[in-house]
Subunit: 371 residues, 2 copies
Amino acid sequence: MAGKGNDHQVVVSNRIRLARNLATAPFPGWAKPDARKQVLDRILPVVEALPEMKNAFSKPLDSLTGLEKRVLVERHLISREHAGNSSGSALVVNRNQSLSMMINEEDHLRMQAISPGFDLQPAYQMLNNVDNVLEGTLEYAFDPKLGFLTSCPSNLGTGMRASVMLHLPGLVISEQISKVISGVNRIGLAVRGLFGEGSEAQANLFQVSNQTTLGESEADILTRLERIIEKIIGHEMNAREKLIEEKATLVQDQVGRAYATLRYAHVMSSKEALNQLSLLRFGLDCGFFQESIPDPMDLLLMEIQPAHLQLLAGEKLSPEERDTFRAELLRKKLQSLPEPDIQGGDASLRESLQTSKRQTRPQSPTPSDDE
Amino acid sequence: MAGKGNDHQVVVSNRIRLARNLATAPFPGWAKPDARKQVLDRILPVVEALPEMKNAFSKPLDSLTGLEKRVLVERHLISREHAGNSSGSALVVNRNQSLSMMINEEDHLRMQAISPGFDLQPAYQMLNNVDNVLEGTLEYAFDPKLGFLTSCPSNLGTGMRASVMLHLPGLVISEQISKVISGVNRIGLAVRGLFGEGSEAQANLFQVSNQTTLGESEADILTRLERIIEKIIGHEMNAREKLIEEKATLVQDQVGRAYATLRYAHVMSSKEALNQLSLLRFGLDCGFFQESIPDPMDLLLMEIQPAHLQLLAGEKLSPEERDTFRAELLRKKLQSLPEPDIQGGDASLRESLQTSKRQTRPQSPTPSDDE
């Protein structure tokens, strides 16, 4: 598979979500509290009984504090929109957070599987498997011609949304990203920022997902998505090589300043931290670290986000306090890392693109693009 | 003397210049080449014979390359305006660069003495001494009522311009600088940027100098200037203490980022470097360095300036190459320094304001404000 060798540098994670509804109950948006409760009582025991959900985290959404919900949003386990309206809703997440089920979100049941890297098959296999088991017990709303019925017509048919989160600093720095995005849009795929629909692109992260769910099989949708992702990986790697050939100093400057700022700043907004960590990861991929260091993407996607930070601090922090606490956290992390060696001639930089010293992350969540 | 204890943190250097002209020759701006040559032949031997000028650097200006002249401008030994028009001009500078004489600049003779710190007396004594010796040989253009006659009426009378270069990061960061500048202007003193009249304030450096030369004795002018400088030192130290009491994190952030950027950037303009070095010096004054380190002001005023940089590189550098070379130079300097410890509670910061670990500079030039 072309580009596959470099996918770990470009693809952060992938996520597949299936939307399902019961044939015999109104959609959650239309349902009265009693009806929502009945749906919950019907689905929850079946979900909790899944072997995949052994020892799972299972909670009614309205039992969670505002902060806990915001942490789940930052982990892309629930969507921002549904964190508020939570009566009769529940969340079930397996131990390693690779599989999650939302009951009474936009649809009666939304199941989401996350896997690291580019390969969409593990997530799809896990979901398909679970879906088959649930289908044996729950009576899904299904139309022989249209397929699975969903709250929003945009999910009708397969009810599947597959998305891949890509880290594209090369295309952003070399100012080719708009061209790539409009190309992807033209062939019917969506490109979104870190937090799904309508969110701004931050930290050079972009989610690419299918827009159509009707008239194509799941396998065809995934194949089409994979082909495009391969092409984007190719473009990104070309952009990186070209940058390093033609603008090595610019890359060294940006990565050096990012490392420096993360290591020595005392006040840092979430937005700045995201962008600096993205550049640090890029520097890692460019081989600027001689030793293996933890992936900055984990910090980026989780720890430095506002709610995670507050959870860590164990107290309510004002935005100013968060910016100070975030900077402190990052300073400590960076001080425990080996110093980068941001010199290296063009040739050695080019070589190092192939041998990034980044540690492989065992597991990482993908953003939600629920709509 | 109030504020005197902290003057080494605020006062970079002081400079006094006397303008003198021969009674029997036209001013340099009006003089034909022959007349300029005659003035040079009259003055140069007398200047070179001064005991203070033993083993001095003595050169006709038109024997210097463009780069050498730019280096002299950056050292504030000649003015930008006069670096170009140099036929019949000469420069004589003593070994430690504390005393310099320009012949056929704006006036027939301009002598300048520079000394580090706040005390204007050493510079004045040296100049006065030299002036008395020269007066014995050269016939100065002098009017019993007006005093010394000069090319520009603004220098008429004493022909003296005394200026003190102040480093005022506290007043700049706490946004009180405009108020202080207009106060100083109101009482008839001039405030200028790093490179004299019309130059932008950079690196939080400000030159304060007398505007009037007529109707006041040299001693009165110097006393008045000293009193104002004392007041400004007081304001600056108050601003610093207040910043550290009320905005310690902001100070730590700015100093930390400055250190970080200087240490890790790969492209840096002269303007950015000036400002970062200024913040580094401020950090030093705040006690962020546990060990003694060289004063960043020397780097700031000399080494990183464009012409100095080119002289150091030994080749003609394009502006882009200069920015890369400058960043490299700064990275190396910073890497050889001990790491700063930019933590410290408010109390320890406040204390450290009194015990800056900056090495005392043996000698440093002040900017020229020739007009």
